[in-house]
Symmetry: C2
Subunit: 351 residues, 2 copies
């Protein structure tokens, strides 16, 4: 006898949420039982119309403004929550999902290791999840894999870990207008610095989460953490589908962080994000260098692209989240991630 389909709901139908829907539609054993989004142009429309894809199900999926009916009537196994970057902003939504006895996977960067910035909310989420018998996970390509979990995983073959230097050199070219604005692409240096002062450049959210996740995995504490953000000024005109920076202006942000752990281990992170890095000879890639025994010199060139990677890991973690003991989990608590290539139903534990 075949198991029933794995019921997924998606909250937030932007680039991430709609990308997850598209990925799920290519996989076996899933059912999308509901999608919620606030955008008036979407509400009431079929996701298949919006995605220009054929409907493989026996039911339509119309976008609803409110998630409540979906949670209460469709009883999804898991909700993919793709709406926020910050734990505090996602919190009420997560609470509502778990109080309706659904597991949740959040794309919010801070949720990849919420204990770093929101220890009290994290404890509360953990308590609520256990009380309701469900699991909460935050994940993404970064934080979630390229600058943290991958380093944790490879450290498994090390007798001794000394300093880590983790770099992710990526391109912002595939991203849309929101990202261009958040990262200051196309601004003059003066405009960038003014916005920076007013906290209007978001840069990368995740260094502190990645650092705390690694420290926790190694069994250490973070004793010092600081990060910096500076403009990447281009020497040539650079143009991407949604961005333009003329020579002398800002093509992106260079983010760095420096942390010290309780045994004096240092974790440094470097993450320059810009449009068209190749135009000035910068090649994208993910790099993990770990001093210790043995030395690690891991690289993935070119980078794993942010959008695809986040979409994939959120969907791929669904079976692990369903199978997990209840509570607020992070990537270091669950089994190693993996691509779902067969019928997802076979990956769900019987118990």
């Amino acid at each position: 006898m075949k198991r029933r389909l794995v019921k997924v709901a998606i909250w937030g139908f932007g680039a991430m949420g709609s990308g997850m829907a598209k990925m799920i539609l290519k996989k076996e054993g899933f059912d999308i039982v509901g999608v919620s989004d606030l955008y008036d142009g979407y509400v009431g429309k079929s996701i298949f119309e919006i995605l220009s894809l054929e409907n493989p199900f026996e039911h339509d999926v119309l976008i609803e403004k409110n998630i409540e009916r979906i949670l209460k009537e469709e009883k999804p196994d898991v909700v993919l929550l793709a709406t926020d970057s910050f734990t505090r902003k996602a919190y009420e939504k997560i609470k509502f999902i778990i109080e309706n006895k659904c597991n949740v996977i959040s794309t919010a960067e801070e949720m990849a290791y919420p204990y770093a910035k929101e220890p009290d909310l994290s404890k509360e989420m953990n308590r609520l999840a256990k009380e309701n018998g469900v699991t909460i996970l935050g994940t993404g390509v970064n934080p979630g894999m390229m600058m943290d979990l991958l380093a944790v995983c490879i450290s498994g073959v090390m007798e001794n870990v000394e300093d880590m230097k983790i770099s992710r050199v990526n391109s912002l070219s595939p991203f849309g207008p929101t990202v261009m604005e958040e990262q200051g692409v196309g601004l003059s240096l003066k405009e960038f610095n003014d916005k920076l002062k007013n906290d209007e450049i978001s840069g990368h959210v995740g260094f502190i989460e990645s650092t705390y996740m690694i420290a926790k995995a190694l069994g250490l504490e973070v004793t010092d953490f600081e990060q910096s953000m500076s403009p990447i000024v281009t020497n040539v005109d650079r143009k991407s589908p949604y961005g333009f920076a003329k020579a002398g202006d800002v093509a992106g942000v260079d983010m760095r962080s420096f942390a010290k752990l309780s045994n004096n281990t240092k974790i440094d992170m470097v993450h320059p994000q810009q449009i068209e890095p190749e135009m000035e000879g910068t090649h994208t890639g993910d790099y993990i260098k770990i001093k210790g025994t043995p030395e690690i010199n891991l690289s993935n060139v070119p980078e794993v692209e942010g959008g695809i990677g986040t979409i994939a890991i959120c969907v791929n973690m669904i079976p692990h989240v369903i199978n997990s003991k209840p509570g607020l989990k992070t990537m270091i608590d669950l089994p190693v991630p993996r691509a779902i290539m067969g019928d997802v139903r076979n990956l769900i534990d019987e118990e």
Copy 2:
């Protein structure tokens, strides 16, 4: 209140077992409660004398010929079993350990995914482990990480996995006389081919285990598997601490495997093992290339050395094995591996 020390016993005090003891002695929160080895020159001797290391415990650790007293009287939390390469050979020892209610971590290459070659024994081990409330894990640097788990882990950011090509170019130079003999180092081509015909060249044990582990993780079946072994003939005289191959003779073995999965995905593995590869311009490294969305092009250069890596991962998996639900587990069932850098007691679940 601090937890009690994590009690470890080691069965087999060769290069792996003694290396694990040395690593454990550098970590906090462990106690080595017993070591067993058959070698008469060791029996009755203190491991601290053999290792020329100071004894940090309040008791000595004398090597015993028989593990029985250690299991029954010392009641270790886990036994590190470093005696065999093959499941069938390790089986009776594993059975004896688990019937004494101890968890076990085996270095036997086949135990990294015993379902590949010994499905019946695996089911029996799983049954016995559950019956006795303990966990069995096989691991090592390869199989166990570099040609399997690392590929599984990075596939977590992939929407779609097509073909995989996994290579490990390593050096046999750090290894001793046994490895030189098993790998045919120093033989003439004729001698090598004669031994190959008589199954006297062991080569790398692990391709089938790595392939089945990856397939299982992706939710697919292996439909075809074959492997080959051929001599690496050197053009120059090569000398390592325990090996010598003169020009025209064999410096190692080139192993390859080819597998097809149920959805036609191919997994190819390449693993040339030789002494002094740099003498002919070969540089060591671990490489994982995965076609799909997105493409993966992961490398770690130079290789993670086999001995250290296996020692480290066996010790580092101790908390995961103690925390696991009972049964025969593999690396894809347990949380992501990681280096133990803090007090191991903090990594043991309270429950």
